[in-house]
Each structure stands twice: as structure tokens, then as C-alpha cells.
């Protein structure tokens, strides 16, 4: 059972890692002028909700399986994702707004955020991997 939870988390975590990389690549494309702001934002906004769902899923899995430490590790990130999504002003086209992304250093802060998330997901990945192996051995 425990192994199944971690395998699921591992898969989820892989997806989130890929997503982070995708965010980074797309944002840096925008930075280098390879795509325009509109295309970039519509691409990224599509994945904001899946990312949030994926993060919440692994948080819930940990809560349900009562792995408190990993749960607490996941919680702030999930909370941040939800907060960011709810905070979007009514007139904006999503978390990434093409009319604002070039203003006030938003592009940089988005980039920084994606980088941090990538690091965090990698960390989680190894934790899940370790826990999974441990669980499998215990079985």
C-alpha cells in the first residue's frame, strides 16, 4: 500500500518536474524574443491549473497516508499555487498576463519561481524514490 502511494507520488512528481522545465523553457523563449508575449502566456496559463492539481494531489496523498513530514514539505507549495491562482485580478487573462509580463520585472520573478519549483520537485523526487524503495524493501 505504502509503496503504491509513493509510486503514484513519484509519477506525479515527474509530471511536475516536466512542467517546471516546460515553464522555464517557455519563459526563456520569451526572454530571448523567440515567441511573443501573447503566445507564451496562453501556453503557460493552460498549465497553471494542472500544476496546481498535481501539487495538491501529492499533498493530499501524503496527508492521507499520514506522512507528516512530507506533507508539511508539500503544503506551502500547494498553498502558494492556490493563492497565486486566486489572487489574479479580474481583468487579467490568467496568472501569466501578456500585457503585464514585461512590466515590473514580472518575467524575472516568474522565471525565478519556476526555477525554485524545479529544485523543489527534484528534491521531492528523490525523497519519494527513497521512500518508495524503503517501502518496497519493507514489504
Amino acid at each position: 500500500m505504502e509503496a503504491a502511494v509513493f509510486i503514484l507520488s513519484l509519477v506525479d512528481c515527474c509530471a511536475l518536474i516536466f512542467l517546471s522545465v516546460y515553464f522555464i523553457i517557455t519563459l526563456s523563449d520569451l526572454e530571448c524574443d523567440y515567441i511573443n508575449a501573447r503566445a507564451c502566456c496562453s501556453k503557460l496559463n493552460k498549465w497553471v491549473i494542472p500544476e496546481m492539481v498535481g501539487q495538491c494531489l501529492s499533498t493530499m496523498l501524503m496527508l492521507v497516508s499520514m506522512h507528516w513530514f512530507i506533507f508539511l514539505l508539500n503544503l506551502p507549495v500547494a498553498a502558494w499555487d492556490i493563492y497565486r491562482y486566486l489572487k489574479v485580478p479580474m481583468g487579467n487573462m490568467g496568472v501569466f498576463d501578456p500585457t503585464e509580463i514585461h512590466n515590473r520585472g514580472q518575467l524575472k520573478s516568474h522565471m525565478k519561481e519556476a526555477m525554485i519549483k524545479l529544485g523543489y520537485h527534484l528534491l521531492c523526487f528523490f525523497i519519494y524514490l527513497y521512500s518508495m524503495i524503503l517501502a518496497l524493501i519493507n514489504d
Binding site: L30, E31, D33, Y34, N36, A37, R38, P89, M90, G91, N92, M93, P98, T99, I101, H102, N103, R104, G105, L107
Partner: protein, 1210 residues
Amino acid sequence: MSAPGYTNLNSSVSYSQNSTPNGGAAPPYQNGPTQAYQSMNPPPGCYGAPPQQQSYPTTPAHSTPAPGKASITKSAHSANYYQSNHQPQQQQHHHIPQHHVAPSPYNVPSSQSYATHPSSGPPPSNAQYNQQQQQQQQPPYATPGSYYGQQLYYPPPGQHSSQQQQQQQQQPTLVTAPASGPGAPLYPIVSYPSAPGSSQYGTLSSTQSTSTPGVMPTQMGAPLHQYNTSRPASTTAVQPGYNAAPPSQLAPTVNGQGSTAHQHYDQSHQASLSYNSYGGVTHSSGSTETDRPPSGTPSTSVHSSPGHQQGVQYGYVANSGASSAPATTSGPAAAPSSSSSEDEDDDDEEEDEEAGGDTSSSSTGSASPVPNSYDSLEGGNFPDSMPSSNDMTNQAASYGSYGYSSMQPAYHQGPASHADSSPSHDPYGQSSYQQYSQPFPNLSQLSAALGGLSGVPELEVEALRPVNLLQERNLLPPRPLEAPEPNLSPELKKVNCSPQTFRCTLSSIPQTQALLNKARLPLGLLLHPFRDLQQLPVITSNTIVRCRSCRTYINPFVTFLDQRRWKCNLCYRVNDVPDEFMYNPVTRLYGEPHRRPEVQNATVEFIASSDYMLRPPQPAAYLFVLDVSHNAVEAGYLKYFCDSLMENLDRLPGDSRTRVGFLTFDNTIHFYNLQEGLSQPQMLVVSDIDDVFIPSHDSLMVNLKESKELVKDLLTSLPAMFSQSRETHSALGPALQAAFKLMSPTGGRVSVFQTQLPTLGAGALQSREDPNQRSSSKGVQHLGPATDFYKKLALDCSGQQIGVDLFLLSSQYADLASISCISKYSAGSIFYYPSFHYIHNPAQLEKFQKDLERYLTRKIGFEAVMRIRCTKGLSIHTFHGNFFVRSTDLLSLANVNPDSAFAVQMSIEDSLADSSLACFQAALLYTSSKGKRRIRVHTLCLPVVNQLSDVYAGADVQAVTCLLANMAIDRSITSSLSDARDALVNAVVDLVSAYKSNVSNLLQSGLVVPAAMRLFPVFILALLKQKALRTGTSTRLDERVFAMCEFKTQPLQQLMRMVHPDLYRLDNMSDQGALHLNDTVVPQPHLLHLSAERVSRDGAFLMDCGTVFYLWVGKCCNEMFIRDVLGYPNYASIPPNMSHIPELETTLSERVRALLDWLQDNRAFCSTIHVVKDDTSAKATFFQHMVEDRSESASSYHEFLQHVQQQMSK
């Protein structure tokens, strides 16, 4: 400069056609030297060729004005080179005799032409010219000998210099005339000649003349001597020719640069021709460009006559063309022609906007000639340049000291590079500067330089003088503030971009971000890139020279390392100078890339080739979307709109392709079929607003010319058609969708007239305003949009090159915050008329009519993009204005209009320590209403400093205020209004404390700021009292939002007048210090502080608020003033809402009207005037602008200062 010249120019226009041939000739120059003269010589024409080219081909054209201009320049080229070549033979033939005569004779035969040119409209001589021109084609001048010859030739000019100078003088005047000429009014922007060009032109021409001959004498006696010496050397072969040469020189000078002279002489006519052509050039640029430019901008075709027409501006086209053409003959040239289009490089992305540009045409061919010319140039230039180079060493020190000398080195930019580069190079670059200055008399230069040296430090000292705000009460200067002058060398200052177009908050850029943070001032640019210009050099060239790596356009601040290479001032890459750039169409000299107009003017306009197009240039297309619901009928705007459009139908910018369409809506959408051939307009109603479709695709947007009668029919019947409408709903969203679909194929301008909250279909909105919160001081909600519908649609529009302008005439809340998004992101403009009613609110009606007239007739640019580049190390951080930021430095502007401005905030990412200058370049690529692709380039150059005190000395308080206003608007939308207000107050607190702790070492108590920023607290206080940012005073949400939109788009001058109006006392004006313009005397009353204590009952005061003038008349006002200015016997008989100043014959009345006209002069929108009596209710509107006084909810200036002081001590 002089107007007359202009007319002459027209005649010359015809020349421009000729020019094409010349252009051909020009290339030869470059390549040229190679071919044998002899062959050439035989036909006088050969020599003449250059000159001939100019005028000859055109001859037919000559009769008509226009084209010739280009040719002229070319001829000049040829002249220089050729002269040498030709001289020998030609002189023998004809020249000699003529030559002798030439100096004086010149005047006679050719001179006549000269003299006449200015005054006489068409050049009589044309026919003669034509003949000559034909010969030109031959000009395979290429032979190297020619080059040498040139050198030789020069010397002679020196000898003749005195005569030449005279001639030159004549020329300048002529030139000037063109500049001022008729062309300007018609198409100021377009016409190179007229506009900046004209002035420049004039200067250029003068420079040219001076530079070649005139200059020589003055500055460079030495060089001349050298020439003389050189002559002998060359003489060997040529001597006979030389003799002739001198005369030729004369001739050249006459032409502008004389080179043509030989030929000219021979054919006395030619000379005259060349002149004509010259004049023509200028003229043509003015006149032709507007209409004719057509021909040939594009690369190859240009070469031919068309090029010339355009060339008029500079003849460049011709040159380029010429080069290509000649290429065939000379061989090397060939490359250029082909070159026209390839973009070399890089990013395809750029294509979007700025794509193609640089073709580096093959320049290889001309090796031999180049060196020669180069040598000669260097020889000439060196002496002058050298001193400047010496300065280089001082640079480091210079920073600290304000001395200009240091600055000059800076110019070169990379000091390091200087050291590296061969000394010769440096001189070269400097020489260019000097040359630039040359046009002016040496004495004046000297004095200017001296003045600069001594004066600047004084200025800076004054700017840094600590001012204790609590003690000094008279802070305002007597005249409205000017932008601070950057501490640059006089040469750079002279060419720098006008502060009205391009302004930086800090006219001395701090070296590092740390220093900037220390100064606590924002760094940013305020741009007004498309403003109406009186003078603008327009350049037609098939190679637009740009940096290969950063794509910067060549500008006055680049460094020429040597004749063939230039160093980009933004990225420091070293680029090659393309062949055709070696020829200067203005001076008609080869090998002077540093004197090309691109390098002499910080604001230029290029005619772009097809590389800069993603599709054929669109026609002007205008769609009017009109609200015809019951509410709109009540407000009664429709009739006035129709009347105004009817009146201005012929003045809509556009050409024969102009398209118009109309669309009205209430709860349904009505289209109008205006297809040519219908007996009357046909209305098509679409009631399915959930899924809007276009009922007919080709007949709704119609050609204005073909369907003018139908359009007029429609405009006549439209107001009556809906007078009975009872429909109260408004389907704005679907109407905009329909407009989008209708315009998608072409792009263009959509003008939306809306009178209420949209209530139906997509984009329907609800009222969000709570009237009870209008005067709340707690914070204002709903400043942002309620839906993203309008934003999305605006981005769609922007993608299809559709700009949406919004006119909101509403008496109720209409949620401008949401609706305005449609204009904000499609680069439109927003107009708002609160409480508009055609009977009850005549003031708004008048404003509406005036705005509409300006709106309909102002210039417009379609499918535009603007890129802002800056020196490596600086980057753009935030953008303010109406546009869509497509990538990091690229603004997408579906439409661009002359009345909107932009602002950007910058940050310093890397230290700027390795350069002493920072440059900014804004390049606006657009399609004119005539269907031509154009690029307007502005370049601003500022010094980099490493001392905090220098940063403060260069602070531009107006620009800082405007940028802070923009930032505060952003803050109030993303965060809250109170945050924004706090941030503004903190800006003052930070500045004062930063200055106190870092710069001023006086242990003064109180508020001490540098003198340059002494008005900062007043301006910030005024900002806090504006509708956009005030709290506590009842303000409607829509008015507040509109004021915010204005802050984002108004140009600096206009915005500053709105924020801090100018107040003058009128009843005791004296003529002391008055301006004398033409025949009128414009008095210059002193500015007064905006405080009621400065206003007295026995006076009359004028307040200039930008869009409105208030003339406040006190109760005890001098009756003489009331009688003489207002035309009433006494105070009591003045009517309560008087809104004009009668034209009385009294001196005082004339003075007042002269002042009003003068103030009005540079404004796009006509301001209204209100006479306010002391006892009427209107008094409140006057006194609400007294920002230094206490109001019900805001503190007075003194209280504000005390508040700041308290904050500081915390």
C-alpha cells in the same frame, strides 16, 4: 532656410528626376576611379556627367519642380571626383575659359541660375541641363586618377575660397529657403527638405559649402595649403586641367560642393542646373515627398528617377541607386544594387518590425578609390581632430570635473577603444564632429565652445545649490521650466534629440545601479516619438545602415574608427560602412560617411524598403462605430459627429485607397452598405449578437473616393434615422467583435463612440461604482477592469493591426476602467466627456468638436512597431502608455498618433563604467497614410557619471514627476490608491534624506534639496491633488480612471501643465523681455506660484491648464484692462460665462492675444478659454488649481513640507 529657396526648390524638383542619372553617376565615384578618364573626357558630358546627371536627365522634368533634388547632390559627388578627372580634358575644352570667368562668371551664367534659384521658381536653365545630364551616364569615372584629381582640386578651391565662400553663402540662403518653404506645411514630416532637414539642410548645405571650400578657408588654412601642395603632385598629368580646376572649384562650391563645377563650367548651364537641382532637392523633398515619394524608395527601382524624387530628401536614394547603376560601368558598384534587400541576418523575428534593414551591400569593389579619398579626408581633417583626441586622455578626470573637454572624448565612447584604435582613427571621428560644426562660422563656434566651457560648470553649480525649502518661498523660475541640458560637448549637444521628443529623468546617467539606488530617483525615458515636427530629415536609401548585432540604426553618436568602419554606440560592435554610405548626397562628396544626414541628425526618418514589410503596406482604413441607443440620441452627439466628419472628409489622412465604413449599434448591430453604384446607403441589421457575423464582405468598407456621395448621404441622414429610438440597451461588445471582423483583412483605425454602460452580449458590464464612496479617503475600489473581454479583444485587434479609439460621452457611470482596455492595448486613444449633452453642456460640446476635428485630421501611422534600444548595461524594466509590449523591447502599436506619448522605466544591469556616454534609440516603423513604410529614428545621448552630486545636478524634475505619476497609477491599480499616494510622499522623503546624508555636508536643519529638484515637492503635492490620485474630494470613478489614462498617454509638457498650471498676471505686463516674432510682440509675464496669496483683486490672471485657459478677473481690476482686453466698460458688465477674447485694436488686447496664441502654438488640441469673474461659481474651478493652498481634504504646501520633515525624523 529662407522661404524663397523653397519655391525654387520646387522647380528643382524636376531635377530630382535627373538625379537618378546622377545617382548612377555617384556609384561610379565609389567604384569609379578605375575607369579611364580619357574616354570620359572626350565628351564634355563625361565630366559633366556628374553634374549633368543631376540636371540633365531631369531636364524635361525641370519644367516641373520636383525630382531634381536628388540629382543635385549626386552631381556634387561627381563633381568632386570628376573634377579631377575631367578637369584635364574638359578644362581644355571648355573649362578653361569658363573657369577664369567662373568665380565671378559663375555668378553670371550659372550664377544667374543660382541667384534665380532661390527666388525664381523653376529653373529656366533646365533644358540646357538636360543635355548635360545625358552625358553623365558615361561617368565611369572610376579611374583612380579621378580621386587624386579630387585632392588636387580641393586645393584650388582653397585658393578661390573667398569667392567660393561668397558663393557658398548664397547657397545656404537658398537652401534655407527650401527648408522653410511650402513643403513644410503640407507634409512637414515627410519632407526632408522642409523639416528638420530644412534647417539641417540649410545648415548642411552651408556646411557643405563651408566644408568643402568655405570650411577649408576658415578652419583649415593648413589643409588648404596641403592641397596646394598636393596639387602640384597631381598636377603632373593634370595641370592643365588644374588651371581649369580652380574655376571648377568655384563651380563646385556654388553647387554646394563644387565638384561638379568643371562640367558645369563647360556647360555654364550645367552649373546652374546643378543648383537648381540642388534647390530642387530640398524643395522636392518637401513637396515631392509627400506626394511623389512613391517611386522608388525600394532598392533598385530607386536608382532610377524615382529614387531621386525621394532622393530629394537627400539624394541618397539616388546615390545608392547611382552606385548600383554605375556599378555596371565601374564594376564594383554592381553589388549595391543587388544588395538592396537581403537582411543579413539574424532574427527573423525582427522582420516583423524592423526586419530587413541592413543589406550590407557588397562594398568590396571600390578599394582603390576609397583609400584615396580617405587619405584626402584625413589630411583635411586631421588638424582639427587632433586636439580633440588629446582630450581623450583626460576623460577620467573629466567626469569629476564638468569640463566639456572631457566630454568630447567621451563621445568617442570607449576610451579604451580610442587608445587601441590608431590615432588616425580618432581624429577621424572627431573631424566629423568638427565638420559638423563647420557650417557655422568659426568664431561662433569658438564662442559657443567657450561659453560651454565656462557656462556649464556654472549651470551645474546652480543646479546643485542647496535650497532650503522651508526658507525659500519663490522657487519658480520666471519662465516655464526647460529640460536640463545634458553635460555634453557642444557638438553632441547640438545634434542631440530634442527634449520634447525624448527625455530622460536623469540627464546624467549614474554609472551603477547602486549609485542610482542611492540617489533615490527613478531612471526612465519619456518619449513622444510621433509628434508633429516642423522639420524632419527624410532619407531614402536602399541600404539603411544598422549595427549587425544589435540592429541599431546608425546615428550621430557612433564612432567612426576609420573611413570604412564604425563602432556601434549601443553594443560597441565594429561594423563596416557600406559603399553607398561613403557618398554624401548632401555635400556630394565621396568618402565622408560621417557627414551623412543620418550621422548629423538625432531624429531622422528613413523610407523603408520591402524588407521592412510583412505584407504590402495597408491602405488607410477608418471604421466608425456609433452608439445610437436612446441614451446616445438624448446626448445628441450624433449630429455633431456627422457634421464634423462631413466637413473633414477630405482632410482624412490617406490616399486614393482610403477606405471607410460605418457601423451603428444599440441592442442590434447595423451595417451600412455603401457600395459604389447604389442610389442610397443600405442598412443591414444583424440582431444575433451572440454570434456576430458580417453580412457582406466587400461592400461595408468602401473606397472613400468612389463612394464619397454615398458616405455624405449617410452622414446627412444618420442623425435623423435614430431620433425616435427607444432602445436603451447597448451591445458594445458584439459591436466591437463585428468591427474586429470587418477590419481584420486590412487593419486600420476603429473609432468607437459610446454613451453608456454596455449591457448586452459579450462584454456586458455591471455598475460597480458606489456613489457614497466617491469621496472616501479609505481607498478606491474598481480601478481595474472587471472582465478580460476587452483586453483579449484588444490583443486580437493589435494582432490584426487594428487600433481602437474610444470616445466616451456618458453622463452615468460607464465603467471606463473596463472599456478603456480596448484602447489601452491596441494603442488607441481615449476621450471622455463627462455629462456630455449638446444643449446643457456647451463647454463639453465645444471640446468634443475641437477634439474631433483634430482627431480626424491628425497624422496617423498604421501597423507600427517601436523598438527602444539602449546602451549595453541598461535595460527596460516597465512600460507605460497605450500599446502592447510584444517582447522585451518591442512595442506593438496598431496605430500611432502624434498626440500620445510613452514612458519606460529603466534599470542598470551592468556597470556603465567602460563608457562615458549612454545612448537610447527609439525606432518607430510605421505605414504612413499614403501607404509608405517609414522608420522614424530618435537617438538620445547622455553622459554617464559616477558622482551622486552629478546625478542630482542633471535631474529633470518634470520628467521625474511624470514618471512617478505613471508609476503611481500602476501602483494604485495593482495595489491600492493609498499605497500609491504613500509612495509619492515617500519619494520626496527619500530624496531629501538621500541628499542630506550623501551630498550636502551642511548641517542645516530643515528640508534641503538640490536646486535642480527644488520644485519636486510642489509637483508631488500637485500630483496628489489631481483627480487621478486625490482622496477625500468627491470624484467620480470614471473621471478618476480617465485622469489616470491621461497620465499614461499625455506628453510631458501637456501633463505638467495639467498637474501644475502656469499662472501669469496679465494686467501689468510690460514689453520688457518680450519675444518679437515676425511682427507681433509676445510679452513674457513671470510665472506665479499657484497660491491664492499671489492673486490679488486688482489684477487679472491667466492660468494655463493645458486644455483650458482661465482668465480670472478680480473685482477691483483695472477698468482699462477690462475695457481694452475684454471690451466691456467695467467689471459688472462682464457676462458670467464669457469664453473668448474679442479682437480689439488696443495694444493691450494685441499683447494678450499674442501671448495666448503663442502659448497655444505647439499644442495639438486647441485649448478653450474661460473668463472667470471673482464672484461666480466658476471661481471654484479656478481656485481648485491652486495646489499650494489648503483644500478641504488636502494639505497646503507648507503643511506638506512639515509632513515630509516629520517623516524624515522618524
